[in-house]
Symmetry: C3
Subunit: 468 residues, 3 copies
């Protein structure tokens, strides 16, 4: 049995990673012109009269919404497990706090590197959050089955792979993916599933009773769901072009999400013998519409097109939770704690396809000639690309993301399988007590058990075994 004592492993890796970050930031990262005192001079050279033209005022409130999605959204969504609330919210916090630093560097080298320095502004913060979003997704696949050290190692590698994949898609294939259906969701989900598959535990289901929710943990999870759902329009529009593109991306995402909710509820009720709803579906599948318009939301998908996408994805995702996930576990041994395949995997691929089709169907009539160029950035090397060619490249982007996910996930999964990271034993999965000091009811002990567990919100395994 693995040694789950984190006393030296976890502090060591945290310190090493953080010190490396400081050194690399020291060498490479500087403020860009919009967050530097030279901005005033620059404004004059650009004939900018108002500070409102600073990128900060176009992007900051979107950034904050995305930030909430990553930390509260994903963090609380995963608190549905009855005894893994601490790990869900806090390991997500840890991985994201490290991940954003590493992402600023990786994405910076690819996209914001000038004269030997990475020049950062608010858009870099958004993109770092996006990158970390893909790690949060993958974390959902292995939730409760890995140690915090494994989480950090996975983050280190996944952020790296994400950035390379993103660079291939955006810079080599010249793919449009502002809301990340491909780069964030497809890549994140299949990467996480591959890792989960490599780390599979054949005896897990026989032994573990903790994998399930209790009444209040399901309500905590709804905090995550709702903040993800509400702020998703900001997510898909955060890095779109100023003006109409950002505006349109928000509207389309809003429509798609609304539609998902109704079909999720419909299917959740329809697949239950007595028509009762399942909170797992509400917590997750209602979000599928946001995933699936990640690529196309800023295009002229139109509000009704968005409704259709949300309609389909609510159905696909809920059916996935009901039928496909149990099948993957029983047939392949692929255990996916949060059902990321249903929420991010399938809707992510659908989103990539919707994006490819929408791009291929673009016309000057709909977008105007300069609008078409602005939308798909048909400039420089890509000045002669046609919408239909663009559609083909968009489709290629899905395949590349999947390839990166499977190959990268396999390698990272094998690294995480090394017996040195303090992985929990099967019987300790989904249980905070392995890695956390858990509050106990001291009073109970001190008053020599005159009454039974008057505040028994949590007992760790050791505690329970002491009871008669």
């Amino acid at each position: 049995m693995a040694n789950t004592n984190m006393r030296w492993k976890l502090p060591t890796i945290c310190f090493v990673l953080q010190i490396i970050m400081i050194i690399l930031f020291g060498f490479f990262v500087r403020s860009n012109i919009e967050s530097d005192p030279h901005w005033a001079e620059y404004k004059e050279t650009q004939n900018i009269t108002s500070d409102n033209e600073n990128e900060f005022y176009y992007r900051y409130s979107s950034f904050q919404d995305v930030h909430v999605m990553i930390f509260v959204g994903f963090g609380f969504l995963m608190t549905f497990l009855q005894k893994y609330g601490f790990g869900s919210v806090a390991f997500n916090f840890m991985l994201a706090a490290f991940g954003i630093q590493w992402a600023i560097l990786m994405q910076g080298w690819f996209h914001s590197f000038e004269d030997g320095k990475i020049l950062i502004g608010v858009e870099n913060l958004i993109n770092a959050d996006f990158c970390v979003g893909s790690v949060c997704i993958a974390f959902g696949g292995v939730l409760g089955k890995v140690s915090p050290v494994q989480v950090l190692v996975m983050t280190l590698f996944q952020v790296t792979l994400f950035s390379v994949n993103e660079w291939v898609l955006l810079n080599q294939l010249h793919v449009i993916d502002a809301g990340g259906s491909m780069t964030i969701h497809t890549f994140g989900a299949y990467f996480g599933l591959t890792v989960a598959f490599i780390l599979r535990r054949p005896k897990l289901n026989e032994r573990n009773h903790n994998e399930g929710s209790v009444y209040h943990s399901d309500i905590f999870a709804m905090i995550g769901t709702l903040f993800l759902w509400m702020y998703w329009p900001s997510f898909n529009s955060a890095v779109s072009n100023h003006g109409d593109a950002q505006h349109r991306a928000a509207i389309n995402t809003y429509c798609s999400l609304a539609s998902s909710v109704l079909t999720t509820i419909a299917i959740s009720s329809a697949v239950n013998k007595t028509g009762k709803l399942d909170m797992v579906h509400i917590q997750n599948a209602t979000l599928a519409g946001g995933v699936a318009v990640g690529t196309a939301a800023e295009m002229m998908l139109t509000p009704y097109g968005s409704l259709i996408v949300g309609f389909i994805c609510g159905i696909v995702s809920t059916l996935g939770y009901k039928y496909l996930s149990p099948l993957l576990t029983s047939k392949l041994g692929l255990h996916d704690t949060c059902g990321i395949h249903n929420l991010h995997g399938m809707p992510g691929i659908i989103g990539g396809i919707v994006g490819a089709v929408t791009a291929a169907a673009a016309t000057e009539d709909v977008y105007t000639a300069p609008g078409l160029i602005a939308m798909f950035r048909f400039e420089g090397d890509w000045a002669n690309r046609s919408p239909s060619t663009q559609g083909g490249y968009q489709a290629a982007g899905i395949c590349v993301s999947l390839a990166f996910a499977f190959v990268g996930g396999t390698i990272v999964g094998l690294i995480l399988k090394l017996p040195i990271w303090g992985e929990p034993a099967d019987e300790n999965c989904f249980e905070d007590a392995v890695y956390w000091e858990i509050p106990n009811e001291e009073e109970e002990v001190e008053t020599s058990n005159q009454y039974v567990a008057h505040e028994p919100q949590y007992h760790n395994t050791l505690k329970m075994s002491e009871e008669p």
Copy 2:
């Protein structure tokens, strides 16, 4: 006894409604110029030099705050019931997700219809959220006593009635009501109360023990309260004129809300024999100040005027919870689960009156001559209206809203009384187990009850009756 099995009813209504939405959106809904690629052309014709002039940047962060109020604010406010947390947050989610789509259509036909199309932008999203807010309010009156199918049917009709009432007020009476004291709160509350009255259950109180909170459910509810309270300045300023009006509406609302908190606490303590505070009051009456400046916040109500309004409404609302609600239940059989009469009904009417008085008292001296025209839109057909006439029409708006609420509520209540919607029996009211799969402690069963319920956050009725 009614059949509460939702298996066919709920999926059917969800699918039918969502498909109708898609068809109607397909026929009618398009992006407006500010979210269309033709924006660039349009900008030039309007001599707009900065994308910051796009409506998106004036309204989007207000929209997101309102969005949080509707989904997290109302959703969590209602989780105070000990066994109805799933229904509270998820049925609110469902009704709002459907309602915003239907509201975009209904309000669009009245206000954004051009050349056969509804042209939408961020302001339409805000208005749709506003419209749905009135449904969330009404839902609070019937919370725990209706099936999800009834909720959807009510939403369908209430959004329709709201839009007609709003059109009468704004377009026919030319009433000012940016924060919706009349259109949202007065209409929503009295509509909901009328429906609750029609659906009254004389034997409910004798039988049901679930109508109450537990410790943690009261804390969940505070999440809703605080997000409503904090973002209310955005709510009341979201659709105000650009610049000073929006700025002023936020400040006045902030003041009114602050004042409500103190008088709520004062009265809550004063009406209790031992001076103890009641969470029900804190959760609700602290918000009354926001309701009551919904109409007047963008006018020159002044900060101290706002404090006075909040002062009064904190008192009225808390006294309502303490004395009036029990009276309405015992005398009229009117059971109002969330006390919407105290939070939205009375403060809504007060808000309408405050608005009428503030409008009637408006002078060119205070507003400047063009400012007065801009504030009350004394243009076109209304170019010759005086402030005092405006005050009269504002007062008329309260009456019209009440009339719509009573007549509409009666009709909708009678429709909802039909025994086909799967209404819960009296003994199943306020209990999630009727419509939800509830997580149970499997371990308990499997280990043959060696110790008593170590995580008994929730037991459904069936479960408990099996226990010795």
Copy 3:
């Protein structure tokens, strides 16, 4: 034993304070030009063409983020106590709602007073929230040990002292402190600690078993932690100069916070015998990085400088929770419920020092000549001040803040020690039941206890003692 019945004390103080607020607002507070209908005229005189130049659009979304930090952030952070959730979130709500009104007046007289009136706009709301932030901090030191009347009295005096201290720092010493490391955190923490010391209860620890968390209360607290953590970049940038300064402050704070998370986790694990993490550290010390760049975030601290500050403060703060707090309690009898010394005290002082050093090191090369003047407001009386002199004054600001905290805290502590405020007895500390109606499981009583406490989320002391 003190009489904890609040029936007349609490309503009286609430009403008196609120009526005084109304009167003073009536005499003094008016809208400033940007929230007044005369804005349109003013715009013309200033050649402002766009309403986007209204301060509202530069500050409002930052204001809302700060607002969330004060009410949800601080409120929920303190819900970690197992039986003090109501008091934590609601007394924080009460003190902040009163405090912002009084702060608008106090700060207004010092900073926004023109022709006998205080002219307020969105920046005043932000500053009022900032001022109240220092009261929330101090409240954390006495949490669970004071009555709501004491909380209001403390707020009244602390807001007054804060405003005077702030005026001395900003207007007399001409210190820069946009994010309030000195004015908010250092002052707030040491004021609160001094009050806690004066009110110390030597027998508290022997008797009270309620001072601790339960599983779900620790998750509630994480809601507070995360909203504080996510929105801290808005806090530190909210009142910075438009454009690059605001942009830079957000980026630097983001970096510092990210770094704190990793070192907090590292130390939390390293100081535990079995390497297990402690939720208290995660809930609090992860925020230390935000505190410590409060002064310097808008300066050219650089991203890597911010990482270093966060790195150090995560360590210092976590070690403080582990070793220093128990020592202060056992040696000095200084009981600090939320550990404000570790989260706000030490990091606040570090922040002041970092600010002084960063200011002293400022050069025209880095800031540009006009940039240096804009950053440190080297104008008017301070036109000839050099960066190194500025550094000296910054350091003096720390000392002044500490002096205000110790002297003010002593006086206020002695006032609060008067036996007339309804202070709870030692055995009732950290227990909502003294001041709150607590929901009980009626069913349990009515069914004559056939099964044990099926929903025992909370029992008050009286209740428990009745049980066999």
